[in-house]
Symmetry: D2
Subunit: 266 residues, 4 copies
């Protein structure tokens, strides 16, 4: 236990080429790789990134204008948030649900697709690592490149097998624990998912429209899945401040529906 | 990879003393330990549990009245659902969020409390195992017994150190990755959590009332935490059926607010 | 103005054959007609209803066990709540929206159906009276009787023309301000509603399922309606109490979708 | 009845100085007074407003670029929407609830404040007219002018007595049916509202923060109100389109809480 704790503490020392999340406030934070001689320019002045070397994560650093930033250790949620700036990706709230409700954990083998910018695959990988694997399918060449780059930066590339392939045509893996989908025609993947899953394994699909959900459910029943459920979640931020406490005005009204099912056999 | 797949497949064969979830429909399922000579009596007839031995998870079995049940491999969510029948526990939707937003994963060391029936601790353990640990605090003797029994049944007892202790008084661990609370006075734990956490580590608290959240936020600011956010989630089931598709009538209007924060240092 | 005020005050004196809402708490209240010699028996003791005669609405009265009840003047919402005990009716939250978003007010002429127990018709009548009218259609004989009785009790029977008829076959009125529907096949009423409405008049439909809404919207576009909108509302009660403030646990997850449209002409 | 219908039809003919709502689509509509020689310039070309004279409301008119607009009869909701462009006002969804849950209707006498731009007062007036009255209080001179102008345009000025006064200091009216508040310190109005209301009359307050609600509830209990309830509503638009049906992404997460109570007397 002693050793574990030491290792963990060491892991949290900021070293060269590490990523840090420079946090100013809820709306403004910067994901930066720590390199010698690097300066981060913000509207609150610049920060000498090099000064972070050897300090512990969580440390505060001041910009040239004296404004305080906290150097947080980036989590998978922070990476996803940064990825989302450039491409449309699944929301953290939905990723949280997909991971928990799909029954996966350390060691699970998961087929996932379409990869897109890689946010969902990266999140899954960070929960199945180190012994588990994500087989992430994508047909669009340009996204394969973006995703590969994102996986490397996040540091989970070793746990993901990025594959050029079309899940509506074929799944190559067998006996996987879960098939997790974020693509436009999930119902076309259902029968392949059934073949790829081990008994009792999970099919999980994220879809924005009701029409997709209805077609997917029909395909699931036909293929022999059971325990089929569909739900949606609403996420509401709160402003907590004595005398001014209230839910936040801005809220996302809809992202998508999550459908889950388990493989039943005869 | 071959070997991994075989192992995984083997793991999913139903063996003596395994738990199975005998699933009838969305509202009725039974968590049963597989033992020779055992019969499960339901209003749909009885099931010879012994007949499941050697079959794969996901297999269907018929009751004496010919009604089909699916023998699913229980997930942590299934166990939590069954635990919740007997004691009031945190909802799966909130556990999903707590785990994802607290930045933990395989290998994380987490302080948690109050243990209660153990649902939250068990869920966390199933994501930090095998190399991580949960230090779960509880002051009520009767719950320590219930939790210990639940951990053993779920098969995650090796990853949880169940401790009789009061988090509002003291946290013994150092350099932990997260402190996760489901207790009535989280604000009294905040300064101890700050001491126990490594830099950038997460404080997460679940509280039903606004008053608890306001006090906790004030304590967090005072102790030096940053990145403080509070949110709530709403979970709505959907009835998906051609010609009858609609959200379900029953919905839980409120479970609690989740507050997260990260340790910032000078 | 003097006179108006006096009249209003007089109206609020409890007289024989008036209805009063005897309010104990949020969950328990009794709608009672004031009659000489009448006793209301509750689990908190009995109340001599006669004692209310000549007192002002809002007055408190004690039961034989000394428990305090408030004698409120029943509102249309109170009547609807009582009607709803016996038959499935549209929720007050949806009635509130339907009335406001349909643009009706004192003097409006409105076609409504199916009548059912009359809750929606009664609510509309209480806003279009005294010069407006509700033409309420119902095909089921037993409901015509129930509704007529309810209208009389609520005191709005003079403003409602209760009609035995099928809105999917024909609407007899012309130049009405709104057609408001709570029935299972609203799309079959759309073309008749178009004929019955004056230009710019409102079509409003309440439907539990998505499938009904999709069909209705298609019919609306085909018939020449414009300004088509569909929405749903969620209503969440709050428990307000220093130190224990929080949303209530119980909440209705779904009642139905409201679709509105206005008649456009060439 | 014949006569009523004719009158109603006449009312819907577009005449000089009438307002029309020129509707293009859900996001774009124009509230315009009909005057000779007037042109409305839009990015879809211009419209000769004069051409609408003598036509029925609901009629379609084409812009110089051939784009179709519908000339709807403006409802109170349309006016409120237009007013909201210039000042922050209460949302239609909340107005709908306030009106229905406050038990008011044709003939009611209502104290309201702060007036602001007049949206809430105008809406109430359109339901209590012609025999009822709204006494609308405002202390800020600039808003008294804006509101007066809005009331005149909407055509409900005759039913509103606009008063320069501070509701937290005094309410001059007696025996009113309801006191409806949208101001920052409603708890300071509670005792005056109690004096102004007739027995069983309604106090209704709209407040964005929890803190306001807690203080108001305490004042209500102290003053002798009963039947106190607080709730919030969520309004979610739906996109209805075969193959693409889903809730809309944009949604307002919070506007405010509505608290209602009724005057109980001894």
């Amino acid at each position: 236990m002693r050793i574990l704790a030491n290792e963990a503490a060491l892991k949290r020392m900021i070293r060269e080429n590490d990523d840090v999340l420079l946090y100013l406030d809820k709306r403004r934070s910067y994901l930066v790789k720590v390199e010698r001689g690097k300066k981060l320019h913000t509207h609150k002045g610049f920060i000498n990134i090099e000064d972070l070397l050897g300090r512990e994560y969580g440390t505060c650093i001041r910009s040239s204008k004296g404004v305080k930033f906290v150097a947080f250790h980036p989590t998978i949620r922070d990476y996803i948030f940064k990825i989302s700036r450039r491409t449309q990706i699944i929301y953290p709230k939905d990723i949280a649900f997909i991971i928990f409700f799909s029954g996966i954990g350390p060691g699970s083998r998961v087929v996932e697709g379409g990869t897109g910018a890689g946010a969902l695959a990266a999140a899954i990988a960070s929960y199945v690592k180190p012994s588990g694997r994500v087989y992430s399918y994508e047909i669009r060449e340009e996204f394969l490149k973006i995703a590969a780059k994102n996986f490397k930066r996040i540091g989970i590339a070793d746990y993901i097998e990025l594959k050029k392939g079309d899940l509506t045509k074929k799944i190559e893996e067998k006996d996987v624990d879960a098939v997790i989908l974020d693509l436009s025609t999930p119902w076309l993947v259902v029968s392949h998912a059934y073949e790829a899953l081990k008994g009792s394994g999970f099919f999980v699909s994220f879809s924005p429209t009701i029409d997709q959900v209805v077609k997917t459910k029909e395909a699931l029943i036909e293929s022999g899945f059971a325990g089929i459920e569909t739900f949606e979640t609403l996420f509401r931020g709160m402003q907590i401040e004595k005398g001014r406490t209230r839910p936040e005005t801005l809220m996302t009204g809809h992202t998508g529906y999550i459908t889950i099912a388990r493989k039943a056999t005869i």
